[in-house]
């Protein structure tokens, strides 16, 4: 009689935490390495070793030098500043701008909504990367411009996401309660609608930062990104790609790997946040 029937197993709730921690640790390590770059290498990112180009990894140059005689290890470390910085700043601007647009469109509705969403439609009608290319070609390169490019191509998605969420939240009883409590439109939106519409943004933003890094690397690969000879992973891959055929892997494979690891870090973080949001809903 004491026999127990066990039905399935509940999914461990720690799964989300593991994802979030792993992702955060990966990103923290890369960011720290970028910040502390001068302490980790004796070479400057654009300093040319007069004694040799395309030196294989060895003492002096842990990852060798590239075709211009610049130290790959140093460039790899320093590039993190640009790549992480531009991707994160670009996505941050996109989140703020997109959220603001989505809030206005979603809460006010009517013609405001129609106009804003048609503009968003135009932006979203182009494949992201093509749009990024076009904008980058238009505004030219430079750090600030690249942040603008990343923000411009990503903001429409946030606008749409937030608008959809706002339209649901707007109909909820607690918003009606706030309105009938005499709260101003700004008060209702700021204190009640906004905080309750951000869950999907929190999940998407880290994933988005990962994609933004790829977009940035892609632009640089095509020569529309950072100005040469600034250290940037995409530019390094572009510059080093001809060497691979000759067996000189060290100029392009390391930046590729670091890029991969960063995107993975962002993905894990995003997945973890999503998992946690879902667990909360159950």
């Amino acid at each position: 009689m004491a026999e127990t029937v066990v039905v399935g197993t509940a999914r461990p709730g720690r799964f989300a935490t593991v994802l979030i921690v792993t992702g955060s640790v990966i990103l923290a390590v890369v960011a720290l390495a970028a910040i502390l770059a001068p302490l980790l290498t004796g070479w400057g990112p654009t300093e040319i070793d007069p004694l040799g180009t395309l030196v294989p990894p060895g003492p002096g140059h842990p990852l060798g030098t590239d075709a211009n005689g610049m130290d790959v290890w140093s460039r790899l470390l320093h590039a993190g500043r640009l790549d992480l910085g531009i991707a994160v700043a670009g996505v941050a601007v996109a989140v703020v701008a997109g959220t603001a647009l989505g809030l206005v469109a979603g809460y006010l509705g009517g013609w405001v909504d129609d106009v804003l969403m048609r503009v968003v439609d135009v932006f979203q009608a182009f494949p992201t990367f093509i749009l990024a290319l076009a904008v980058a070609a238009l505004v030219g390169n430079g750090t600030g411009n690249l942040i603008a490019v990343i923000a411009a191509v990503n903001a429409p998605a946030y606008a749409r996401l937030v608008r959809a969420e706002v339209r649901t939240v707007r109909e909820s009883a607690f918003v009606a309660a706030a309105v009938t409590s005499g709260a101003s439109t700004f008060g209702v939106v700021w204190r009640h609608v906004l905080p309750n519409s951000l869950t999907p943004v929190r999940v998407i933003a880290p994933l988005n930062a990962g994609w933004a890094m790829l977009t940035l690397a892609g632009l640089s690969f095509l020569g529309l990104g950072v100005t040469v000879p600034a250290a940037e992973w995409g530019a390094m891959i572009s510059l080093g790609s001809p060497d691979v055929v000759a067996g000189r892997w060290w100029t392009s494979v390391p930046p590729g790997l670091v890029l991969l690891i960063c995107v993975l870090g962002f993905s894990l973080l995003g997945e973890g946040l999503q998992e946690r949001a879902e667990a909360k809903r159950r």
Partner: protein
Amino acid sequence: MSPVDPDLLSIEDLSVVIRRPGREVAALSGVSLRVGRGEVVGLVGESGGGKSMVARSIVGLLPGGSHATGAVRFEGDDVLRMDAGALRRHRGHGAAICFQNPRGALSPTRTVGRQLTDRLTTHRRLTEAEARQAAEEQFAAVGIRSPRRRLGAYPHELSGGMAQRVMISLATGCAPGLLIADEPTTGLDVTLTKEILRQFRHAADADGRGVLLISHDLASVAGVCDRVVVLYAGTVVESGPAARVLGRPAHPYTRALLRSVPDVDGRAVVATPGAMPLLTAAPRECPFAPRCAHATAECTADRPSSRPVPGAADDWTLACFHPRTDELAVSEPAETPERVTAAAETVLEVDDAHVVYRSRFGKGGHAALRGVSLRVAAGETLGVVGESGCGKSTLAKLLLGLVPPARGDVKVAGARMSDLRGRELRQLRTRVQMVFQDPIGSLSPRRTVADAIGEPLRALGLPAAQRAERVEAVVDRLELDRSMLTRHPHELSGGQAQRVCIARALAGEPDVLVFDEPTSALDVTVQAQILEVIAGVVRDPTRGSVFISHDLATVRGFADRVIVLYLGRIVEEGPVEEVFGNPRHPYTRALLASAPSLGAGFAGPKVTLTDDLDDTEADATGCPLAARCPFADDRCRAEEQELRSYGAARAACRRVPEIPDLLKGSDIRV
């Protein structure tokens, strides 16, 4: 071990513990019950009692992480230990469930006929043509008119009542031995509730099925059940013949449940403090002891086992050391609060208000209110009753200025809402405050309780320190714990959240309080507690209240005057004793007649309406009720009805003087 002629269903000492990382819940602790063929057994109790868990165990759908002991024997076989194949045959054929929310449980993209014939072709191996024929018969059997046409309908095209009928036909379609109905009438109007419950009784009587009827609504199940099982915190506290358990309950919890329910006969509601505990392990003491007035040291030292009630002949058992044998005192009607003098100042006035919801692309629209006038004096409570779709919620929104009137006026404390804009409008809005139906949903999830209660004060422009003071004052007044102020809505129980909502409504000292179904989302004993709080609040002579409910019994306990809405019009209004004691309009009489009651119920001659609300043409000329009214004649169908005075009340029916004659003799049925 297994008996020769086993019961249809016999649950033996079933315990279920749900183990999830970080928390453990003892959902059921030693539950035993049985259902025979042709028997309707009611499983009653509040949420958290384990009602749904029992249902899930019977169809082998325990949630992941469940650890179950005991047995769930269905025709002798243990459902808990069935393999996948046996379980598949058992579901649908052996036991079938009717879900609580029929529209959610029906697949939205397939016609309801398709969903039924699918089951018939797979489980009963009928051919397509046979299945269609059988489906049509099934639909007719559950009272769906023009079944052939309805077979082609999609779920969203059906009303709630119709969808529940389809759900029943789906569940009974494969001739299951046992039908489980999980809160089948929640959210349905009173007139429909009766009809749907009759379908379950019919399934037991005509087809010899066992029916397990799960409900929190004691009054409705009382009429159809043979036996009743009362659950509390995962244990069976009392079970036995329905007439005994509900008529002369011996367990203090059953008694508390029964006393918590308002009744149309106007008896007083007695609240029981506290709430059901969420147990992490099987209880070692009586789980009801902390809330029980009769609890002694014995009750907390040991858990009472289920024993036959002393002296009772039939299988009436209860788990209590101190069974109550005295009559459940049907207390005298609640004392009526003193009448408001006519001289009291008018705080809210609505004059010939029409509200039209326009469809998005301009043309057409739906008139939700058609010329409603009312006035509420300070210190007065106005009750608003009607079935779903009558315009109750629209009226609430109109009073709060959430929808503008297409015609007519809303005046709050003498100021016309439509004249004001911006800051002045916001200030006026704080004069009318509402308590919503869903207490947790009406609190902003990411704001603390203190923030929520302070919201109206913020609009009044009070500085933070003063706000905090006022918030604490109102929290104390409602006897909420101050530690609750820093909590978030998801950390509150339904009852606590509703107290917070009432506190928020009171914080700005409004002129008018609107209660929109304030207790319908709450458990029975919590309902009684909240009703007590509201009763204290509406006594205030400085403000007027509007109490909106589909539940006539609840309104009766509070209101000074009542208006009855039907399809956006007032069909009857008057003092509460007049409207409930001597209803003039046939619609009011029909509503009262179908209201479930544990007592005598509505005393006068009863009227039964013929059709469901959704089948009548709302835009037809003449009296809107004509199509359903047994007294309607050609003039009723042709002429608009105006409110006429009959004694102290007014009713929109020209035949009122003739009705007593028409009613003479027996009940009117058509």
